[in-house]
């Protein structure tokens, strides 16, 4: 039934409000949070694909009674195909993404509950509000609705960093909010420019108006609108020049909070990126500028990660660099490259959450994240070490994991489109990622233990091992049978291109 589609947004919001009220009552909060975190992927699978018009206002062309009352000048123009209400559209691609969002939120909350005795109601509120905002950004077909939930997601990301309460988290949160208050209004200005040119904020209407030449496709108003929306996209996803602040955010949060934050960033990047591709994909400057920023993101991310000695900062820079691969897939613009970009986004969510939760166990054990002071931990917990090693292989693109499949698809699409230089850069950056990860792994697990290493806790919570294992199994399954995931993506893109 199409009525289940808004439930994917409404259920997390209600849960967020409930959990904030129930702050202090531990047992009930844990049960409600885990139930809702399981219900979200179930709704995503059960709901029918299709469109949902809020208020029931279908476009006038499908609504015969209202069409008859209009003056003929309106009834014969192209405006009758415009959507008068907010529409949410659910297709197989969005189902897959919301499914994996639910899985990651469930596993992160599971790990968080096992680590701390008292859980914080406001933190749960922020996590579920961010989940609702990010699923609404992906589902909606209306660019102003996307801006509203983009602002909500930015606010909840700031709140999650504040709730993590580590050294310097308040200063980082203030810096992020100041940048956000510059990036957000510029995105709003871009939406205003498009509204002024076309007359509607629904993405399908804008695409229809540009294709049927109701507006001039190369008018300066649309080009300036593209530049402003592009700037807002750079801020929300963490591409240069915002990669430093994003990686600082990932390094300041608790490990589960960082896993949730990377998921939110990838979702906003995919939602805004697909909207930009649908509206502006015909421009030649679109390809050039997105490929340029994607290359900058990949190279800057990995070169800053190599020199780090703190493994949380190294992971932060690697996670931001991985987003450059997604942007490269969006920039080349053919069907295979967009499928590769979406597949890389799916893999990024699973792999970076795995790495953050896994490395978080080391931080839990020893209380420090400086790799110069650690060493020899493989004798304490060999299972987590092996799983983290396989996670690093998946990140760098070693078969048979899912990173290999998506990077192979990316390289093939770059070669097919006639850009062999991009394929070479992708391979080189993957090699450097592999080298960085192996260096960090060696200095944490394999080198001899220094004498003055103190342990804060005796052993790792067992549910952290369980979460990492489930994410690794997903990596392995998708790596061996990528068609489960890419079939939905290719079907959606076949309708777009």
């Amino acid at each position: 039934m199409n009525e289940l589609i808004p439930l994917m947004v409404i259920v997390p919001i209600i849960c967020a409000l409930l959990l904030n009220l129930l702050h202090g009552k531990d047992k009930i909060s844990r049960i409600i949070a885990l139930i809702v975190a399981i219900v979200i992927p179930i709704i995503a699978i059960v709901a029918n694909t299709g469109l949902h018009y809020f208020g029931g206002y279908t476009p006038l062309a499908f609504n015969g009674t209202l069409l008859g009352t209009l003056p003929t000048a309106l009834a014969n123009s192209n405006i009758v195909f415009f959507h008068p209400a907010i529409t949410y559209s659910l297709v197989a691609m969005k189902k897959i993404f919301i499914f994996v969002l639910g899985i990651v939120i469930f596993l992160s909350l599971f790990t968080y509950f096992n680590k701390y005795k008292k859980i914080s109601g406001p933190f749960m509120f922020l996590v579920f509000m961010g989940t609702a905002a990010v699923s609404a950004m992906l589902l909606t077909d209306d660019i102003f609705n996307m801006y509203i939930f983009f602002e909500i997601a930015a606010l909840t990301q700031t709140g999650i960093i504040l709730a993590s309460d580590s050294e310097g988290s308040t200063e980082t949160a203030l810096k992020y909010m100041i940048l956000g208050s510059i990036g957000g209004p510029i995105l709003l200005l871009g939406i205003g420019f498009i509204l002024g040119a076309v007359g509607s904020v629904n993405i399908s209407d804008i695409v229809y108006a540009i294709k049927t030449n109701m507006v001039d496709p190369y008018s300066p108003v649309l080009l300036i609108g593209f530049a402003m929306i592009f700037f807002g996209w750079l801020y929300s996803s963490g591409l240069p020049p915002f990669n430093t602040i994003k990686s600082l955010i990932y390094s300041k949060g608790t490990p589960e909070a960082s896993a949730i934050l990377t998921t939110f960033s990838v979702f906003t990047m995919v939602a805004l990126g697909i909207a930009m591709f649908r509206i502006f994909g015909y421009l030649s400057v679109y390809k050039i500028i997105i490929i340029l920023f994607a290359l900058l993101a990949m190279v800057l991310g990995v070169s800053m990660a190599v020199v780090q000695t703190d493994f949380r900062k190294m992971l932060g820079f690697l996670a931001v660099g991985e987003l450059g691969f997604i942007a490269l897939g969006f920039g080349i613009g053919t069907k295979i490259s967009m499928t590769a970009g979406l597949f890389q986004a799916f893999n990024d969510i699973v792999i970076t959450s795995l790495l953050f939760i896994g490395f978080g166990t080391i931080y839990y054990l020893t209380g420090t994240s400086d790799t110069r002071k650690l060493g020899g931990l493989i004798s304490l917990n060999p299972k987590v070490a092996i799983m983290l090693l396989f996670g690093g292989f998946a990140l760098a693109g070693v078969p048979p994991f899912n990173g290999f499949q998506s990077k192979l698809m990316l390289v093939q699409s770059a070669l097919n489109a006639g850009y062999p230089e991009l394929a070479i850069i992708v391979v080189l950056v993957s090699i450097v990622v592999f080298m960085t990860f192996v260096k960090a792994f060696h200095s944490i697990y394999l080198k001899p233990k220094p004498e003055n290493l103190k342990f804060v806790h005796k052993e790792i919570p067992s549910l952290a091992i369980f979460s990492v294992a489930i994410l690794l199994i997903i990596c392995l399954i998708v790596g061996i049978y990528p068609r489960i995931v890419t079939y939905g993506f290719a079907q959606y893109l076949g309708g777009l291109i």
Binding site: F144, T158, E171, L174, M177, I182, P185, L188, L195
Partner: protein
Amino acid sequence: MVMDIQLASLFTAGALIIIGLYAAIFLDNIVKKVIGLNFIEDGANLFLIALGYKFGGVVPIYLPGMSRSWFYANSAYPLPHALVLTSIVIGASTLAVMLALVMVLYKKYHTLSTKVILGEDHE
């Protein structure tokens, strides 16, 4: 007299955004930066409302006794009003959160200068 209302409002919005950007980027005091961010949002909202203006039109409230086609032809465009209402409230909420963070940071550092608070790398 010289230019019509819509063009003059667009220029005012642009001037507000430029003044706000200057304050947010170049001034040192954090409270002045936040005031500049408030001006950027005011400018963006004024730009959106000026898009919907119709020269010589009426307010888009449908009173009984108006003919429909006259109303369609003469009223201002009401879609940007809905966008701006939401945007004003979002702007006020983010402003409140930022000022709360400034108060917490003042208690820790006893100064409002950006170089001290946001400058060094905190470990």
